[in-house]
């Protein structure tokens, strides 16, 4: 079977149309601060039978259904897309991070999988008709699949959201990333077992017990032995072969080999490539630069081909079943948000911050689509369920950022100067010595937060005696670490200024008292640097000093953020 000249023309033409639309809609969605992948999926729906196929069936058929050969070629490319996508997913899992998580992260990870999985499994097992089960013999496998589909989290979408909300490098960001990585790992293992079980029903796979055995054996082999070999070979390859060509080839060769092997033994190809990806990504010798090149290459060329192809196969309007779609949506939200939030709450976070984690982990994005596509190809789910899954993936991904943003405004774990300012602890003082202002500030804080004035005052003065806390440009930040639970900030404005022994010899006018918990020394540094950074322009400080009352001051400070 070979491609005729027409086939080749059409094939290449359709590829360029797919990429053109993928990029166009991707950029559009990026512009409105949404994940690019959402735009790509929507581009597919527009190019597919849903819109183009209905309005201009001729154009649609000649582009994407020209001949069997072209369809096969397109399928081959999209398979390659999925395999590469999973390679990247594996590489981005930081194994050592997953293995040494803090108590909270473990709680989030575990409940974030167990809870949605149980919700999905039980609903699908006992009420399969509401979730669109077509073949009753497959009830158990179907229930396992729904459980997995609900418990998956899309790491790339999560990462993007955290970056957009500027909490990637924060305690919450770190927790979400660690939990999402663990989630990915466990999710794909369960899904491989489910895929193996489907294969069993059609009679070309191993029995279940040996399947589990093979999966675990393969993981141990790759994650221990192959990982060591990769770790030893990478420095050699990077030194001796051309860079980045040599190392890129090495990675893809290993990935494809792993994929071929697992496909051969009856688990899907994606499992092998995913595990190999983890082994590669764990090596300290893999340069950040190499990672980025792989990501660029895969996500800008192959991933869009795959995501657009989703829409090319199915008519989304014809197969839209409002009942199934709403059941999936409700279950998805309940499962993931409740599960992860409970985990975070159980791990000791407050209600608001737990909800940030819950909604942060709710994005299903790309990974759900991969899962759904494979289940659809294997005949486990029909068009209606597939459409419901895609919509669920889109809705959970789009809603994640705005909802998180809402709770972030009230978050305790995200520390910044402006979020800690309280009008009750802002004073306009006429004191004329450093000691008097500090006394006044300590009194205000002690009264408002129910603390012992002497303890607060002694701690602050003790710190003040070592070296002056006067910074530049009228700013002074007296501070102390104390046995308190949450950080406390108070502000004094002294219009006439007080000598604070500052670097630039300017009198202090804007005085910030900063009290942080003694068991978290880093919080103090973070806030000190945050304040110093925001007020490095003397005009800003003069503007703040000119405030008439606390309300105006808070307003002006918030303008800076």
């Amino acid at each position: 079977m070979s491609l005729s000249a027409t086939d080749i023309t059409i094939f290449l033409l359709s590829l360029s149309v797919i990429l053109f639309f993928a990029r166009g809609f991707g950029e559009l969605f990026r512009f409105i601060n949404q994940p690019i992948v959402i735009g790509e999926i929507i581009a597919g729906i527009i190019l597919g039978p849903t819109i183009l196929g209905t309005l201009f069936p001729g154009t649609f058929n000649s582009l994407f259904n020209q001949s069997e050969e072209v369809v096969t070629a397109l399928n081959g490319i999209t398979l390659l897309g999925v395999v590469m996508l999973l390679l990247v997913s594996g590489i981005e899992i930081d194994l050592s991070l997953v293995l040494r998580q803090s108590k909270v992260a473990v709680a989030i990870s575990l409940l974030g999988i167990l809870f949605p999985f149980s919700v999905g499994f039980l609903s699908a097992f006992f009420f399969p008709e509401f979730l669109g089960l077509s073949d009753y013999n497959m009830r158990l496998v179907f229930a396992l699949f729904v459980g997995t589909a609900l418990s998956i989290t899309a790491l790339p979408v999560v990462a993007r959201t955290l970056m957009d909300l500027q909490i990637f490098k924060s305690e919450i960001g770190y927790l979400i990333m660690a939990a999402a990585m663990f989630n990915d790992l466990v999710g794909w293992i369960i899904f491989s077992i489910v895929l193996g079980m489907i294969g069993q029903n059609s009679g070309h796979s191993l029995p279940l017990s040996s399947l589990v055995f093979v999966i675990i054996g393969f993981m141990i082999f790759v994650l221990i032995f192959v990982r060591k070999i990769i770790n030893y070979s990478l420095p050699f390859i990077q030194k001796r072969f051309t860079f980045p060509g040599g190392v890129l080839n090495f990675i893809f060769i290993l990935g494809f080999l792993g994929a071929a092997f697992t496909e051969y033994i009856g688990i899907h190809a994606i499992f092998g490539v995913f595990i190999v990806g983890i082994a590669i990504g764990d090596s300290v010798h893999l340069k950040e630069e190499t990672r980025e090149i792989i990501y660029q290459f895969v996500t800008n060329i192959f991933a869009p081909l795959f995501f657009v192809s989703i829409g090319l196969r199915i008519n989304f309007i014809e197969h839209f079943d409002p009942l199934i779609v709403s059941v999936f949506l409700v279950l998805a939200f309940i499962g993931k948000v409740v599960g992860c939030s409970l985990g975070a709450y159980w791990g000791g976070m407050n209600k608001n911050d737990s909800l940030i984690i819950g909604f942060g982990m709710n994005s299903r994005g790309a990974m759900e689509i991969v899962l759904g596509t494979l289940a659809f190809q294997y005949g486990l789910i029909d068009e209606k369920v597939f459409v419901a899954l895609v919509i669920m993936a889109l809705v959970t991904s789009i809603s994640s950022a705005p909802i998180m943003n809402y709770y972030l405004k009230k978050a305790k774990a995200i520390l910044s100067f402006h979020s800690l300012l309280k009008s009750e602890t802002i004073i306009f003082s006429s004191a004329n010595s450093k000691n008097d202002v500090i006394k006044e500030l300590c009194k205000t804080v002690a009264a408002y937060h129910n603390l012992d004035f002497n303890v607060v005052h002694n701690n602050v003065m003790k710190r003040e005696e070592t070296i002056s806390t006067g910074l530049e440009k009228h700013l002074a930040i007296p501070h102390a670490r104390m046995s308190i639970k949450d950080t406390i900030i108070a502000v004094a404005i002294v219009k006439d200024g007080i000598d604070w022994n500052s670097f630039d010899n300017l009198p202090a006018k804007f005085i910030v008292l900063l009290l942080t918990p003694e068991d978290k020394p880093e919080v103090q540094l973070k806030l000190l640097s945050d304040i110093a950074k925001k007020f490095n322009d003397i005009k800003e400080i003069e503007n703040i000093i000119a405030s008439k009352d606390a309300k105006e001051l808070i307003y002006k400070v918030k303008q800076l953020y």
Partner: protein, 278 residues
């Protein structure tokens, strides 16, 4: 006082004498006590060997006390540390051990991980002990981290060190993934630079809070894997003493298999290593 009592396990290996000389040098430098530990049978032969060693090192018999221990070397040394209130244990170690030894654990590595007090590991003891000239301290913003900086700073001043560097590593897991969805390396690069500046600021403030005076210091913030980045920095910089704050930890086989943090440093020592413990 930086350290009150120095402990050294004496061995009759080629490194035995140089290590003893180093311990004596540091005893004088810190003005501290010295406790020598020997694990093995106490008989006339070993006694004369020890006396021989002490004579060669040139230390008067009442300047130290000698403890005899029997049994598993690592466990016995750790027991002696607790019994004798030793707060700095000196040991020699190879820079890198072979694979089998790494997984089974050598005496030196076990001490590094599990000793309840601070440990000084000397990698290449010369016949005559030399001063440490280039200090590099790995900083975390914990209380132990502060102690580590203060102690090593005093140490560096006593040595008249020519270089004192504070290194702070910061890790941002999954950073490359953000390239994945936007397809833009520029955005990621920009964030990386912002975080770098933020960490440098924090490090500056950290050092300022500790009020370090008397010796110039340099600050370095590194983005990358904990343990691994600092180790490579020290190696490339050519420092001769690397200081790391670390709590004692019984290492499981699992941790060795999936290395992290201090294990990167312990498995391939970049130079002599001082582990600071409470």
């Amino acid at each position: 006082m930086i350290f009150k009592k120095i402990g050294l396990a004496i061995t009759f290996s080629p490194n035995g004498l140089p290590l003893l000389k180093t311990a004596i040098r540091l005893k004088k430098l810190f003005n501290s006590n010295l406790c020598l530990i020997h694990v093995g049978e106490k008989n006339p032969e070993t006694e004369s060997q020890i006396n021989n060693l002490i004579e060669k090192a040139g230390i008067s018999p009442n300047a130290f006390n000698l403890v005899w221990k029997k049994g598993d070397p690592a466990k016995s040394i750790i027991a002696a540390v607790t019994e004798n209130n030793i707060d700095l244990l000196i040991a020699g170690a190879l820079e890198k051990e072979n694979v089998i030894k790494y997984y089974l654990g050598s005496v030196a590595r076990t001490i590094m991980r599990e000793s309840p007090c601070s440990v000084l590991i000397i990698t290449n003891p010369g016949t005559e002990p030399e001063k440490f000239k280039q200090f590099c301290v790995s900083v975390d913003f914990s209380q132990l981290g502060e102690t580590a900086v203060k102690k090593s700073y005093e140490f560096a001043k006593l040595e008249n060190a020519i270089e004192f560097i504070l290194v702070k590593e910061f890790e941002i897991p999954g950073l490359a993934i953000t390239v994945y969805d936007s397809g833009s390396t520029d955005d990621t690069e920009k964030s990386k630079q912002e975080w770098q500046l933020e960490e440098e600021d924090k490090l500056k403030l950290f050092a300022r809070e500790l009020n370090l005076t008397g010796l110039d210091y340099r600050l370095v913030a590194l983005l990358g894997k904990q343990g691994w980045e600092a180790r490579n920095f020290v190696k490339e910089n050519g420092s001769d003493l690397f200081v790391v704050p670390s709590h004692p930890k019984k290492l499981k086989f699992f941790d060795k298999l999936f290395q992290h943090d201090i294990e990167f440093i312990l498995s391939q020592l970049p130079c002599s290593l001082l582990i600071i413990r409470n």
